[in-house]
Symmetry: C2
Subunit: 253 residues, 2 copies
């Protein structure tokens, strides 16, 4: 259960990609960005996956930009016709967009090294909204950018990860949320629920979650268990709760 905290530093992600929505590709950027932000004390509060459609991107970027401290978009900044993210994000903020000299120079420098021709398509990757700050791409050169509280990243996970390194120093850090996990094979949620609910009431500053799992063996038999997870910013409290969670699951066997 989330506790609303107006002082918390929050983040939203807009994943742009028909490729994810079609089921052909499983997104891994959400987890990658969440894991990157966690040690900075920035919690992910909402994710939207939208299609390669300008209106859909504009709506999602505006909504999350208004309610989150930071927004990260992934995908749609390459050289092909289906890469419309830069233009959509510019539209979301009513900014002019065109090929910008600073971005063009980065591409020229990068492609000179590999003797790659800068086609008009490649030059599209230098389209950056006015007033945006570039984000370095250490993998393939073509930069991302930051506009207000929105960071526009590539969709290829390796490139997105590289861009996050350049962004990290720009982010305000929050209180880090720590977590402890207590796993119990054979335990069942229904037997733990009452005591767990009481514990949540006793420790309102901590968020307690219960996650059942089921595994089917080759012979068809099913093993089951529950992972109990406590999240909070106070490590001493979490230590106390960890012991309580261990005792709880043992009691319920």
């Amino acid at each position: 259960m989330s506790e609303a905290n107006p002082d918390a530093v929050s983040a939203g992600i807009v994943v742009i990609g028909d490729e994810i929505l079609s089921g052909r590709t499983r997104d891994i950027n959400v987890q990658q960005i969440a894991e990157f932000l966690a040690p900075l004390g920035i919690g992910l509060s909402e994710v939207r996956i939208v299609s390669d459609d300008q209106d859909a991107i504009v709506e999602a970027v505006r909504a999350l930009s208004a309610r989150c401290t930071y927004v990260f978009t992934t995908g749609g900044i390459g050289p092909t016709h289906d890469d419309i993210t830069a233009d959509a994000v510019a539209a979301a903020f009513g900014r002019w967009i065109d090929v910008r000299d600073d971005a063009r120079e980065i591409l020229e420098h990068w492609y000179a090294k590999t003797k790659t021709e800068i086609t008009p398509a490649r030059l599209r990757m230098a389209r950056i909204p006015e007033g945006a700050v570039l984000v370095e791409n250490p993998v393939t050169g073509a930069p991302g950018f930051q506009i207000e509280n929105v960071f526009v990243l590539a969709g290829v996970p390796k490139i997105a990860r590289g861009m996050l390194e350049d962004i990290a120093p720009r982010l305000t850090r929050g209180k880090v949320t720590h977590s402890v996990t207590v796993r119990h094979e054979n335990a069942r949620e229904g037997d733990l629920a009452e005591a767990l609910g009481q514990m949540q009431a006793d420790y309102p500053s901590v968020s307690l979650g219960s996650y059942p799992w089921f595994k089917e063996a080759e012979d068809g038999s099913i093993t089951r268990g529950v992972a109990l997870v406590a999240r909070g910013t106070d490590e001493a409290v979490l230590k106390t709760i960890e012991s309580a969670l261990q005792a709880l699951a043992t009691d319920a066997r």
Copy 2:
């Protein structure tokens, strides 16, 4: 690039889970549901991942229910205090919710088989909004439900998958979107982009996507390539495009 089609049967997904947002667990239900819907001719148009928070769930369910033919929620229907989805979905539609006799009978029957006590916590799983139609859970008994165009599924992928089987006959089918994929090692998007854009202009009924990939070998060297994907409902047109995509990538080497 998505073509708006008012006749299309569309779906949205609301993934409910601090567990996904924290980065601890990578969601697999989005891909699972997308793959389930594809052969039914139902295209996924938007996904939202929200926290275990009633307001967040209500907003996402209402927004997607209004714009998609169907909405699927995953997560938050178990017996523990952090399972608030049933109440939130009831609130989204202004429906009364309480333990319902039909759901209670299912639980009693299910737990009788395993001599499991029906604790007050387990009975929470029989809380179903008024007017909702139950969805069978072949794995652990506790049902999901359908209210208007929203299907409320478990978060455990194995259970969610089982529930989809019960839902399939209730869904209006659309035209199936087929896809062809042409993969080219060593090809680079910037060399293919212009011709690909021209092809997209020539075949507006088909959606053409370009997805670059990079792989780092153990010696640090990087191989790269592009997957070109065409999606559409006319298989004959896709066949034509497949050949053109193959020729395109060969030309650009």
